[in-house]
């Protein structure tokens, strides 16, 4: 079986500074794969490159068997790769419904879009209650829900979530994490970038630890959670 996403020796540079120094990993359909690591490890750069917002300096990315390096971002979405960016980036002056509709920008099946908007409201009832409200007026957690709901609107084969728990209260974070588990249960494939290593690894089938642009350790979520160096560096234990 071939992987849904294959990343081979990916390098990304900002000018002369190399932020991602040749990483390789795969995501199998139906899996949750997580990239963990500290600020500046290159996790967000990796996701932004996969979705086409940044161009890699070298390396190869195959999505669903097709090479997508050098393909513009708006075309990569149409292949079924959705990206919920770090910092949520909802459209603040548009309503919640309009944000969700934009997630389905490339779709033309009106009835299907309506049904999926309803599904987003079922997944996150608070969004349904506030559907006419400008998205900029939502709380951080609600904006995160909207960003996830919006990313799902393109019916992705792979959902990339960048720091979905960032800046959220513990309760809200739990809600987001349990939603990710629910999505996995429906068969969604997810590439999850998190600083909250504990939460991410406990959900993940596969995990990769990034440090200054390289993957330094890989394993199943359970392996990594019990790995001593990971516990020391990322799970806050002495």
């Amino acid at each position: 079986m071939t992987a849904l996403l294959e990343v081979e020796d990916l390098k990304v540079a900002y000018g002369k500074i190399e932020a991602v120094k040749g990483i390789s990993f795969t995501v199998e359909a139906g899996q949750i794969v997580t990239l963990i690591g500290t600020n500046g490890a290159g996790k967000t750069t990796t996701l932004r490159t996969l979705s086409g917002l940044l161009k890699p300096s070298s390396g190869r990315v195959l999505f669903d068997g097709k090479p997508i390096t050098g393909v513009p971002a708006h075309k990569i979405v149409s292949l079924g790769l959705a990206h919920s960016p770090e910092g949520r980036h909802i459209f603040p002056r548009l309503t919640i419904t309009e944000n969700l509709q934009l997630g389905a920008f490339l779709r033309s099946d009106k009835a299907g879009i309506e049904k999926d908007i309803q599904r987003a409201y079922d997944l996150f009832p608070i969004l349904g209650e506030r559907r006419k409200q400008a998205a900029g007026t939502l709380s951080g957690g609600e904006q995160q829900m909207l960003a996830m709901g919006r990313a799902l609107m393109c019916q992705p084969k792979l959902l990339m979530l960048d720091e979905p728990s960032m800046g959220l209260s513990p309760i809200m974070m739990q809600k987001i994490m349990s939603t990710i588990a629910e999505l996995k249960a429906t068969g969604m494939t997810i590439l999850l970038v998190e600083q909250n290593a504990q939460a991410a690894l406990s959900l993940a089938d596969q995990g990769h630890v990034m440090e200054v642009g390289s993957i330094v350790l890989s394993g199943t979520g359970q392996d990594l959670i019990h790995d001593e160096s990971v516990r020391k560096a990322y799970l806050g234990e002495d």
């Binding site: 979705s51 086409g52 917002l53 513009p72 971002a73 708006h74 075309k75 979405v77 149409s78 959705a82 990206h83 960016p85 910092g87 949520r88 980036h89 909802i90 459209f91 603040p92 002056r93 548009l94 309009e98 509709q101 934009l102 997630g103 920008f105 490339l106 900029g136 904006q143 919006r150 990313a151 393109c154």
Partner: protein
Amino acid sequence: MNTLPQQLANGLFLGSMYGLIAIGYTMVYGIVQLINFAHGEIFMTGGFGALTVYLYVLPDGTTMWVALPAMLIGGGIVSVLIAVGAERFAYRPLRGAPRLAPLITAIGLSLALQQAVFNWYPDAKTDINFPQLPFGPWHLGSVSISSGSVFVIVAAPLCMAALALFVNLSRTGRAMQATAQDPDTAQLMGIDTNRIIVIAFAIGGFFAAVAAVAYGLRYGSVKYDMGFQMGLKAFTAAVLGGIGNIYGAMIGGLVLGLAETMATSYIDGIPGMQQLGGGGWASVWAFVLLILVLLFRPQGLVGERVADRA
């Protein structure tokens, strides 16, 4: 004789023209945060495009009922091509460069377009007569309205209404709003933001051409440097209304046009300010108004706070 109704009509005319041009500044700024200082020249070339259609394309003696639409289309095509060409070849390569680079490019492009028309357009060293509509002026009480004024007072609201419908109701309009609010994320939705940017330049160019035809009809001539003053004023109108906001551009244009007309007509009636009236002071009062608005309402009359970008 009471001159107020006449001055209000003049102000409305001038303001509608400012507003039409201001749309081009504000849409481009709203989407790529670039002040396209060549937009005044895009306006000017629209006037020359329309003139060319009349002088060199249409047979002599074509009735204005046929000529005017043809001139609008011709002027529109010229302005849109120049606006889109400027985006593609001058501004797009500089996207991501420091802000000063595209700004200087815009100023250079503005000078280049002026000089190109000055040197290469036949007889363009001075004013060239612009064809006139064969009717009017009409008299409504003490107000005299020329056919040129009627044109812009009809055309400007039509253009604005069409734009508002387009931005709010069409799929491309929604994509424009998304691109203006967050260009990277717009791409993640599948929006081709380069296409959206081209559309913004094209709409701005077309509106500028409409304004240029209005200018020609109203003042009777066009000139290679007509874009400088008008462009500066329209930019002022865009800032006055709140740059980036299309309604702001139109309102800013009207406020500026009315304020300018009122100030030049009536300020010299105020004791002690006899020296400060008349047409020569028009720009002074326009910029005084701009400074006052920016002091007390820096986001412009209908501009939005920029705080909600997370």
